[in-house]
Amino acid sequence: MKHIYSYLWLAPLFVLLQVLFLNNINFVSYINPLVYLILIITLPQDTEKWFLIIYAFFLGVLLDLFEGNIGLNSSSLVFISFFKPYLTKVLIPKNSIDEKDKLELKKLGIKTFSIYALILIFIHNLFLFLLEKFSFSFILPLLLEIILSTIITFIIILIFQLFTFKTKE
């Protein structure tokens, strides 16, 4: 429960970071890293499920208010928060970590964390980009964009995780 309070004030912080800085940085000319996903990814396994969904919804609404498309980010964040409990059940071996722990790099190890984070980011980007920009004529560039965005977001999240790793050792 102690972790959850920190997540509450981290949400607006990450939203501001996203809309003020990261949305102005364009990798490969047009790709933004979506770092706020780190909040959903690292939420502990024992978080109440209703809290998870409502938290994802409000994080999305905050982003939408700044980006101007009401419902776009909130629906895609709610979508991945639905998959998260099932995904962690499948990917993370039982008793390998404490249920209260954050799902971080140092707890899960590089292999499990990468697979888990990449799948979650990919589902999110697939949903978000298809909802936002879908058109039949641009389906291939769109897929490329989804994959590139997934990779870049993952790399930035990994860097974030390394920083927290260092400070706590």
């Binding site: 501001l16 809309v19 003020l20 949305n23 364009n26 047009y30 499920k49 209703w50 969904i53 409502i54 919804f57 999305g60 609404v61 208010l65 700044f66 980006e67 101007g68 498309n69 009401i70 419902g71 776009l72 909130s74 629906s75 709610v78 979508f79 928060s81 639905f82 409990p85 909802l131 936002e132 920009k133 058109s135 641009f138 560039p141």
Partner: protein, 347 residues
């Protein structure tokens, strides 16, 4: 009932997911007019303030470019000013002419008034005459015949249209535009529906529906406003269409609608130029002023390629102005817009 509660308790996660997901999808899909504008104009004041603060901080980074563009614009204004002084001479010739016209109009007005009073005088006399005649007829012919006689007389002057003076077209048409300078505090170009936030709002006289331009291009149309900020539907938006004209090398103008449905923020398409138009690569595209939101003749884009089918011609154009680098823009207040739109609404 107990079963229902148990069902809700077991599946609360799935139910909550379905509820919230469908709610937010509903917001996204049905967004466009009402909810968006109500909701956003409420929150825009706060998000706008944050963007404004941020743009205050970051604008120092682009001061040099800003300075260059202002310098260029200044030079353009100077040349305009020198042209203006040439025009001044023309005007000095023109003013006596205008005075003359004014005098003529005044004379005409007096003439019309005198003519009308003449007409009323005539009518008064006529009615008096008729009454006398009626009295005479009444004595000679009896009541019925007297009425008939008078009606016949009255029909002779029924057509009093001949008394109205012949109208001349003394119309002076003009269209005036006011410009409100504004700064871009939020801009996006890589989305499907891009929008821009400006640091001027209702307080400065911005209303929804106003056009926004820069020196060499059109930026978009104001969609919602709050007290201090306004949101602009960018030209890079699937929903925006700008009425433009293509100017061929022999200066023949063809009207069309410029739409953005490419993935590239520098190019757009025009689909409804007639097939017979003489199109060449490098021709300019200008606004045609049909929408009354933009003045006529802002250069927007250049033709980069075109394909012709049996009726229409599809043109790909490249914007002259880089939407990624816009900083200072002008909101156009068209003073005649309300009048024109009122006229358009009438059948």
């Amino acid at each position: 009932m107990r079963n229902l509660f148990r069902f809700v308790k077991i599946y609360h996660f799935v139910l909550l997911f379905i509820l919230i997901e469908s709610f937010s999808l509903f917001l996204y899909i049905s967004n466009h007019k009402f909810q968006q504008s109500k909701f956003l104009s409420f929150t825009q004041e706060y998000t706008g303030a944050i963007f404004n603060y941020y743009s205050d901080l970051t604008q120092y980074l682009s001061l040099k470019d800003e300075n260059d563009s202002l310098h260029k614009e200044n030079a353009g204004l100077h040349t305009l000013l020198s042209k203006e002084s040439e025009n001044q001479e023309l005007f000095s010739k023109y003013i006596p002419m205008l005075r003359n016209d004014l005098n003529n109009l005044e004379n005409k007005r007096k003439k019309i008034i005198s003519k009308y009073s003449e007409y009323f005088e005539y009518k008064k006399q006529y009615i008096e005459k008729m009454l006398e005649k009626y009295d005479d007829n009444l004595k000679e012919l009896g009541e019925e015949k007297a009425l008939e006689e008078n009606i016949r007389e009255a029909q002779k002057i029924k057509n009093f249209g001949k008394w109205l003076p012949e109208g001349e077209k003394d119309l002076i048409t003009f269209q005036l535009f006011d410009y409100i300078p504004a700064r871009v505090i939020k801009n996006s170009i890589f989305k499907k529906n891009n929008f821009i936030v400006l640091n001027k709002g209702e307080k400065d006289g911005v209303k929804s529906g106003m056009g926004v331009r820069v020196d060499n291009g059109v930026i978009g149309i104001v969609s919602t406003t709050s007290e201090n900020f306004s949101k602009v539907t960018s030209i890079l938006n699937q929903k925006s269409g700008i009425s433009v004209m293509h100017i061929s090398s022999d200066s023949i103008k063809q009207n069309g609608l410029l739409e953005w449905n490419t993935n590239n923020y520098m190019t757009a398409t025009i689909n409804d130029i007639p097939n017979h138009a003489n199109i060449q690569i490098g021709d300019t595209i200008q606004t045609n002023g049909y929408s009354s939101k933009f003045p006529v003749g802002i250069n927007i884009a250049k033709v980069i390629s075109y394909t012709k089918n049996d009726k229409l011609c599809k043109i790909n154009v490249q914007f002259l102005n880089d939407m990624n680098t816009i900083k200072n823009v002008y909101i156009i207040n068209s003073l005649m817009k309300e009048e024109i739109e009122k006229l358009e609404k009438e059948e």
